[in-house]
Every structure is written in structure tokens, then in C-alpha cells.
């Protein structure tokens, strides 16, 4: 289980003021949980993810993964970035193998693992390609395969599909859900899209900015139906889905109005 406990982050802004980016955020991600953070720009979603990844220390509070406190980055948390951070001098296969190489896994075993992973994300024929020869969606899939390679306890994804067109995005959502249901990993996922949040998450955290807070939490189970049925459309058009979507939209709008009134 990943446990975020009263996590607060204060940044020093350039002009000397203090930015309160995260205010006593607490939540758990149970094993096999898929938690989605949803909220307007600047509400501290990336800050939260960076803290979980260990890139950013907390000002207050604590984060523990399976009982061990998070003190820095590690291979037990796989990160997928919004803009893929692939290494252009390595082939797709070598990019995916990077974490295994760092861990000292032998060449043969690396090759086998990488083949399986590329198969999993549907890029079996592209192992030898250079990252810059791939499309945005394919690169993002390489990023997912790379993050999965070291068999992390949790996947952290910061708007991984934000830059993709809606059709590719839907394919990637299906892919992610099938990976998630097969590997049974914990996922922490950031998005701007209410639909994406509802479709993928087992739990949706709605956040508000200034200071960054979790204002509402929804336990949802559309993803179970998605895993079983494999088709997102009937889920998205169902009345429960629409109702929840509107409710969350209202919450976000309310926050937006409060902000512009202030």
C-alpha cells in the first residue's frame, strides 16, 4: 500500500514569496488500486507525483510505500512522464531495458523481458527503431514499457496521454487498463480529463488550487466494467457516468469561480 499522510509542500517563489503548492494531502493507494488525481492547472498534481516519486522532498508529512518511507527516487516506483524522457541515443529496446541494466540483470534475461514488454504494449516490431522515429503515442507506450520493466510496486503517470489525439488516447487507455488488470499494479495517474479519470480510476481525487488540496474523493468502479467489457462507449454514455461527470464538473467550476472572485 502507498500511504500519503498530511503531505504539504511549500516552494520559494522567485520573488521571495512562499507558494503553498500542497496542503496536508492524505490518501492511500491499496494494492491493485488505480488512483486518479484530477484538477485544474496549478493545483499541485505534479507536485504530489514528484513527491511520491522521490524527486521532491515534502515540507511536512510523510509518504510510505509498503511501510517503507519514501526518501528519494527508486526502481520500486515507475514513472511515466508527460513528455516522454526517452534517451535518443538508445534504441527502443535499449530504452526499455534501461532499468534492468541499472539493476545488473544479464543480457539474455534483459532481452527476454524487453521482448515481452514490447509485446505487451504492442510494439514488438519496433525494438530496433530509434525513439525519434516513433509517433507520440508509440513513444508514450515505450515510456510505459520502460517503467514496467523493473517490475515496480506502483506506476506514477503525469498526464501521460495529455498530448495525444482523442483516438490514440482511447487506445492508450485500453492498453493501460489491460496492462493494469494483468499486472495488478498500483497506479497513480494525473489527468485534466474528467472522463478519463472516471473511466480509469478506482478512486478519483478532485483537487483545488491555492493551496493544493484534495477537496473530494470518489470511489468509482467503471473501470471494472471496462476491464470486463473492453468497450468504453456504453460506459461513458451510461446515466451513472454522466451524472458523476456533471457533479465533478460542477465542483471544478465552483473552485474556478471562487478563484476568479478572489
Amino acid at each position: 500500500m502507498l500511504k500519503v499522510d498530511h503531505a504539504s509542500v511549500f516552494f520559494a517563489a522567485r520573488d521571495g514569496r512562499t507558494v503553498h503548492a500542497l496542503d496536508r494531502v492524505s490518501f492511500d493507494i491499496p494494492d491493485e488500486g488505480f488512483v486518479v488525481a484530477l484538477g485544474a492547472s496549478g493545483c499541485g498534481k505534479s507536485t504530489l507525483l514528484n513527491a511520491i516519486a522521490g524527486f521532491l522532498p515534502l515540507s511536512e508529512g510523510s509518504i510510505t510505500l509498503n511501510g517503507r518511507p519514501v526518501t528519494g527516487p527508486g526502481a520500486d516506483r515507475g514513472v511515466v512522464f508527460q513528455k516522454d524522457a526517452l534517451l535518443p541515443w538508445k534504441s527502443v529496446a535499449d530504452n526499455v531495458a534501461l532499468g534492468l541494466k541499472f539493476a545488473g540483470v544479464g543480457r539474455r534475461e534483459r532481452q527476454e523481458r524487453v521482448e515481452d514488454l514490447l509485446q505487451l504494449v504492442g510494439l514488438a516490431d519496433f525494438g530496433k527503431a530509434a525513439p525519434y522515429e516513433l509517433s507520440g503515442g508509440m513513444r508514450q507506450r515505450v515510456g510505459i514499457a520502460r517503467a514496467l520493466a523493473t517490475d515496480p510496486a506502483i506506476l506514477l503517470m503525469d498526464e501521460p496521454f495529455g498530448a495525444l489525439d482523442s483516438l490514440t488516447r482511447e487506445h492508450m487507455q485500453e492498453l493501460l487498463i489491460s496492462v493494469w488488470s494483468r499486472t495488478a499494479k498500483k497506479v497513480f495517474f494525473i489527468t485534466h480529463s474528467i472522463e478519463e479519470a472516471l473511466l480509469l480510476g478506482t478512486q478519483v481525487l478532485v483537487m483545488s488550487p491555492r493551496p493544493g488540496r484534495v477537496v473530494r474523493r470518489f470511489d468509482v468502479d467503471f473501470v471494472r466494467r471496462f476491464v470486463e467489457g473492453g468497450d468504453a462507449r456504453p460506459i461513458k454514455t451510461s446515466p451513472e457516468f454522466a451524472e458523476l461527470r456533471e457533479e465533478i464538473r460542477a465542483i471544478l467550476h465552483e473552485g474556478e469561480n471562487l478563484r476568479s472572485a478572489a
Binding site: A53, G54, F55, G72, P73, G74, A75, R77, G78, V79, F81, K83, A85, L86, L87, P88, W89, L98, G99, K101, F102, A103, A130, P131, Y132, R146, A147, A149, T150
Partner: protein, 287 residues
């Protein structure tokens, strides 16, 4: 039949094109990119040679100042056969090449690790900045007398001078390479469990490589300039020395031969670095 085009009707020919006669395309470059310029350069060279020949032929400029191309060419043959100023052409060329290659190797071996270290470590940067920022804007010829006084007129002083001149651009470019490293790339590697050493060898070094190669190219340019200057002053061998001796006898054609040899050598070194770039960093500027 309806006049309305049926929505979703197939448009155009959907069969796959025969692969044999497809036109291969790629993204348009900005600026020159890798469009071929060789032919243009060759024509330019021919035009310059023709102009040279014409000017010297017509006697616009006194012959002492500007020999004809064919005379210079004949002089190459003469020097090749008989040598010049007490040494064979091969001796002159190899003396210069030896100095610049040895100096380049030393400068690279010292400049890359020190530059990377300066990019990574506050103390290394703070300490090494002082001497480097002090000496590197100085023209090498201004401290050549010191080199000669301290190290004599042998190879050591010349090579040291060259190393100093070539070290700075390599060191500074390695630093710049580290500084341009995107934090996201570092974080990605750390999240994959990279140790500090692995981070250095798998992420920092390759990321800095394009800038380092640019630095080496600049250093070689600086190196040739400094080398010839050094040989003009204290030498018994070398292309610079050959030019200097020729100028004392107003042998303009020999001076031209010397300049031509330096140009060819410098060009060959440049081509070597470019080949290294094509081989080592084909991904430069991508992603």
C-alpha cells in the same frame, strides 16, 4: 439516385501503393539542414583558382607578391623532392602533425573529465573557474615567451602552449553539455534505479557528447592557429617554420605551399570530427 454524397463514402484509391516506385520523403529542414552543398563549394573553388590565375597572369599584381597557380604547384614538386630549409617536406608536416595530435589528445583527456566535473560539482567549478577564466581569454602568443623561458625551445614548450590553447574550449563545452542536460532525463533514470555512477555514464556523458564534439572542433581550429604561430618563433621543423624561412627569402610560392598544406590538414581534421559526430551522435538535435 440521391444527389447527396453518401456520408462515409470511400474517397480515392485505398489500395496500397506499389512499393517499388514510391517517392521517399522527409520533414523539411530549417535553414541549410543536410541539403548538399559540395557541388557549390567545388564550383566556388574553381572560380577562385581561375581568378587567381587570371590576376597573376595579367600582371595586375607584381609577380613577387602573387605567384601563378602552376608555379606554386611546381614548387610543391620541388619541395617534395629536395625538401626545404634543412628538412624534407615529410619532416615538416609530421613535426607539425605530431605536435597538434599529441596536444589534442592531452587536451581532450584533461578537458572532458575536468569540464564534466565542473558541470557536476560546485567545488570543482569554484576552484577551477579561477585559473581557467583568467588564462583562456589570453592570446597564446602572449604567454609563449614564458613557455620558452620555463620549458625551453624544444617540443615541450610548443606542446604545452597548444594544450593550453585547446584545453579551454573542450573543458567549457563539456561543462555546457552537463548544464544543458534536461532534469527530466535525470529524474527518469533515477526512477529506474540508476546509481550515481550509472547516471554519469549512461545519462550525463552521452547527453554532453554533442557539445563536447563541437568543443573539440573549435579546439582544433584554435590549435592550428596557435601551432603555426609557435613554429614561427621557435622551431627548426614544422610547416610554420617552413613558411617563416620562405618569407625571409621572399619565396612567396613556398609560403603559398605552406598555407595550402595547413589548409588541407585543418580540413582533414575537421572532416574527422564531423565523421565522429555522424557516427557517435546521429541523434543530435532530435527529440
Amino acid at each position: 439516385m440521391s444527389e447527396i454524397i453518401h456520408a462515409g463514402e470511400l474517397v480515392g484509391d485505398n489500395r496500397a501503393a506499389p512499393v517499388a516506385k514510391v517517392r521517399l520523403v522527409k520533414m523539411a529542414d530549417f535553414g541549410v539542414g543536410d541539403k548538399p552543398t559540395l557541388a557549390i563549394s567545388l564550383v566556388t573553388a574553381v572560380v577562385i583558382l581561375a581568378a587567381w590565375w587570371l590576376v597573376s597572369r595579367l600582371g595586375v599584381v607584381p609577380h613577387l607578391f602573387l605567384p601563378r597557380p602552376d608555379e606554386v604547384l611546381r614548387q610543391v614538386g620541388n619541395i617534395y623532392r629536395d625538401g626545404y630549409a634543412g628538412a624534407s617536406l615529410a619532416d615538416h608536416v609530421s613535426a607539425s602533425l605530431f605536435r597538434i595530435v599529441v596536444a589534442a589528445l592531452i587536451a581532450i583527456a584533461a578537458g572532458i573529465p575536468l569540464g564534466l566535473l565542473m558541470g557536476l560539482n560546485r567545488w570543482a567549478k569554484g576552484v577551477l573557474d579561477t585559473p581557467i577564466e583568467f588564462y583562456w581569454p589570453l592570446p597564446p602568443l602572449s604567454y609563449l615567451p614564458l613557455m620558452i623561458i620555463w620549458l625551453g625551445i624544444g617540443e615541450t614548450s610548443k606542446i604545452t602552449l597548444l594544450v593550453l590553447a585547446m584545453f579551454a574550449p573542450i573543458c567549457l563545452s563539456a561543462q555546457a553539455g552537463v548544464r544543458s542536460l534536461p532534469l527530466e532525463r535525470v529524474n527518469a533514470a533515477r526512477a529506474l534505479g540508476a546509481s550515481r555512477l550509472q547516471l554519469f555514464f549512461h545519462i550525463v556523458m552521452p547527453s554532453a557528447l554533442p557539445e563536447i564534439l563541437t568543443g573539440i572542433r573549435i579546439a582544433l581550429g584554435v590549435g592550428w592557429g596557435t601551432l603555426v604561430a609557435a613554429e614561427l618563433i621557435a622551431s627548426t621543423r614544422g610547416i610554420g617554420y617552413m613558411i617563416m624561412s620562405a618569407s625571409q627569402f621572399l619565396a612567396t610560392d613556398v609560403v603559398f605551399v605552406g598555407i595550402g598544406i595547413i589548409a588541407i590538414c585543418a580540413f582533414a581534421f575537421g572532416a574527422l570530427v564531423r565523421a565522429a559526430e555522424a557516427l557517435l551522435v546521429p541523434w543530435k538535435g532530435k527529440l
